[in-house]
């Protein structure tokens, strides 16, 4: 039982266990006995940033399990304190992916229970069955395998395997953790206790951004809002519609990124499949097809539903690449003035 809730510390049972254990927030934050718990909490976040998974921790003994359970609220509190969109996406994805790995080993009945907690409407038949609306809500439909057209839809329901069920729960969990972190407000006490850690993580995130910004000609800071958002979404593993991926690749290509570099940017996505992504990229960039696709113009982006709102510069241009050019021009101008 304890091992189970240590593996899935987001479940109601885990919450109940923490309440009944009598451990207070004060204890976790200050007590020396929970030093190891606090370290593991930070580790969850660090692993999330590095490898989009919170990482393994021993669960052989009771104290180890307790550490794992309590480190989960610590990690979430920390994420709330840092309040960085990239980290939020990355961390919720890491927790969800970790759970997915474990869920694959569980019996179907357990998967059903977890699905129920996440309002994923699964039904057991010979296989699992799911209503297509729930299926669409949580499935990575940009991948061929997951497209509805390739699924056995009958009377509104789709038969899926146990692993597929676990994958849908992964997405439901990611969405839930993400929105809970965003909705939570950090307390002053937490900010004080984790002062050092918060600063460290913030600095690290900033450094990472700089690193990304200096990738060749592509300065992410100079991207139009649509492309910034699409790139962020792809990297943090959100469901990005096919048209969004297409627009992003075509855009990155048009501003001079090589296929390898684009591939690099996509590689942080979960479900990342190098062969397939490479194929898609090379198709769009004209390397393996006779057509080289130009990125869509603003009007098309809007009709595809992937223009997420304009900023001041957007109002003056009608093509995402013009936005990027304008930004570079203004940088040059400033330099010249100096």
């Amino acid at each position: 039982m304890l091992e189970k809730i240590a593996k899935y510390p987001f479940l109601k049972d885990a919450k109940k266990w923490v309440e009944e254990s009598g451990v207070s927030v004060q204890d976790i934050l200050y007590d020396r006995a929970y030093e190891r718990t606090r370290i593991r909490g930070k580790e969850r976040l660090r692993n999330a940033m590095d490898k989009a998974d919170i990482g393994e921790s021993g669960l052989a003994t009771e104290p180890e399990c307790v550490t794992e359970i309590l480190s989960y609220p610590i990690a979430r509190m920390l994420a709330t304190c840092v309040n960085d969109p990239y980290l939020n996406g990355r961390y919720s994805l890491a927790e969800a992916r970790h759970a997915y790995k474990n869920l694959g080993e569980e019996p179907t009945s357990f998967i059903m229970d977890v699905a129920k907690e996440f309002d994923v409407d699964l039904e057991v038949g010979e296989d699992l069955k799911i209503h297509f609306t729930d299926y669409l809500k949580y499935s990575p439909t940009w991948s061929d395998k997951w497209k509805l057209v390739n699924r056995p839809l009958k009377k509104g329901r789709i038969e899926i395997s146990k692993m597929n069920g676990a994958r849908l729960i992964q997405e439901a969990l990611r969405k839930r953790i993400y929105s809970e972190i965003i909705d939570a407000r950090p307390s002053k006490e937490m900010m004080d206790v984790f002062k050092k850690e918060i600063l460290m993580i913030k600095n690290e995130l900033m450094m990472r951004e700089e690193e990304e910004v200096t990738t060749g000609e592509a300065s992410v800071a100079k991207f139009p809002p649509c492309m910034k958002k699409l790139l962020g979404a792809v990297q943090s593993g959100m469901n990005v519609p096919h048209v969004g991926r297409f627009a992003l690749v075509a855009f990155l290509h048009s501003i001079g990124l090589k296929s390898e570099e684009i591939l690099g940017l996509f590689s942080t996505s979960p479900d990342f499949n190098e062969g397939k992504t490479r194929y898609q990229i090379e198709h769009i960039t004209g390397k393996i097809s006779s057509t080289e696709y130009a990125p869509p113009q603003c009007q098309t982006m809007r009709s595809w539903g992937i223009c997420f709102g304009k900023d001041e510069l957007c109002k003056k241009i009608n093509h995402p690449t013009s936005y990027h050019k304008e930004r570079w021009k203004s940088v040059k101008k400033k330099k010249d003035e100096k």
Partner: protein, 401 residues
């Protein structure tokens, strides 16, 4: 032009003085938009909280085209989408003659017939069989123009976003279908070379026709098509069969002939069991044709303008009349669809004779009466006059009171 507008306005005013309109559900949360006979741009961002208000508006303003939003809003009358506050939207499938191959060569009546056939396929084969929608969740309308609309009102569907709606469209249009999931190569014999086993004989298999989703659909089409060709062959209509096969993309005369020659009782039986024994070339043609002919073309032709995925579009108001035909946006039941004839059932105007000048020869059957009209002045029933003038096939010289 002025006379045309006057005439149509007068007739529409008669209808809107006592219209037959079913007040749509949650109407006060929807946005309305109108086009007028004598004004270019659309008047939108309107909302009506009562039936009376709406009817009053129609009576006073006599719009040529009336629309309402498939979406429900917090403030439907607000000028921008942000301020409107989206609260979900019906899914609307819009089938129009534009989607029918060869429609440009058909007359209005033929076009409507073809669209209806496609529409029934959409309803029965996709929305009911696959998506499992109940009869009560689907509202069907003749559009008053060249097509049909199906509104889905289902709590789970209403909240779906663009990405999810796109998947539904792709499903119905057969976009993104993966061939590998449909045809299988089965190894039926092996040979040993030294200590290793190699396949020596393979055969191509397809899913059972009753399998759910596209798998069964593709097989059903292939079986139906093979039976049809075999029937033609047995009846000695070999040339017709070859002509039919030649319409397929990627098949030549030799290929068609070979395929037909090999068709036999045994062969058809094997195909029914799912055994294809065909080269991979033929398999591609099979799949492509099966998808093309069993899918429904829902996009407007422009890949970047998916109709059903648009969660904030306007759709014709049921019970209103279409400014270019004078026909009513008429509700149809699923059972009634088979016998529904828009040129009888969606006609609202009377039989009084009206003098018009035909400018484009027109053949049409309306209210069971056949008209074969050549250029020149003629008296026709009022319903036909409105139709002809609306479509620009006739002009009006004087208004008869």
């Amino acid at each position: 032009m002025k006379r045309k507008i006057e005439f149509l306005k007068e007739k529409f005013a008669e209808y809107y003085s006592n219209p037959n309109i079913e007040f749509p559900d949650r109407f006060s949360t929807r946005e309305c938009g109108f086009l007028f006979f004598d004004r270019g741009s659309m008047l939108r961002h309107l909302s009506f909280s009562t039936e009376k208000e709406l009817f009053q508006f129609l009576k006073e303003r006599i719009p040529a085209h009336s629309y309402y939003s498939s979406a429900y809003y917090e403030n439907p009358g607000a000028p921008t989408m942000e301020k409107k506050g989206w609260n979900g939207a019906e899914i609307i499938f819009d089938l129009d003659a534009d989607h029918i191959p060869g429609a440009e060569k058909m007359n209005y009546e033929e076009m409507l017939g073809e669209v209806k056939k496609e529409f029934r396929k959409l309803i029965e084969d996709f929305l009911m069989r696959d998506f499992g929608f109940d009869i009560e969740e689907m509202k069907l309308y003749f559009s008053g123009g060249r097509g049909y609309h199906c509104h889905i009102i289902n709590e789970k569907v209403i909240k779906m976003g663009n990405r999810e709606r796109r998947e539904i469209i792709d499903y119905i249009s057969g976009i993104g279908l993966d061939e590998r999931g449909i045809f299988h190569e089965r190894i039926i014999d092996t040979k040993m070379y030294g200590k290793k086993v190699y396949p020596s004989s393979k055969r191509l298999e397809m899913p059972k026709p009753n399998e759910p989703g596209w798998k069964g659909r593709v097989s059903r089409w292939i079986i139906e098509f093979t039976e049809k060709l075999y029937q033609m062959k047995k009846e000695g209509k070999k040339e017709g069969a070859i002509d039919y096969l030649l319409k397929f993309e990627g098949i030549g005369e030799k290929g068609a002939e070979k395929f037909l020659d090999e068709l036999s009782d045994d062969r058809v039986k094997r195909i029914k069991l799912g055994i294809l024994d065909q080269s991979s070339g033929i398999r591609k043609i099979f799949l492509k044709e099966a998808v093309k002919r069993s899918a429904i073309d829902l996009s407007t032709g422009k890949a970047d303008e998916p109709v059903t995925t648009d969660i904030k579009r306007l759709i014709r108001l049921p019970g209103s009349i279409h400014g270019k035909t004078g026909l009513k946006v008429e509700k149809v039941t699923i059972d009634g669809l088979k016998d529904f004839d828009p040129l009888i059932d969606a006609v609202v105007f009377g039989d009084e004779p009206v003098k018009v000048k035909i400018v484009r020869p027109t053949k049409i059957r309306m209210k069971k009466e056949k008209f074969n009209l050549n250029v020149g002045e003629i008296e026709v029933p009022e319903y036909l006059a409105v139709f002809l003038v609306g479509r620009g096939n006739a002009v009006i010289n004087s208004i008869s009171h």
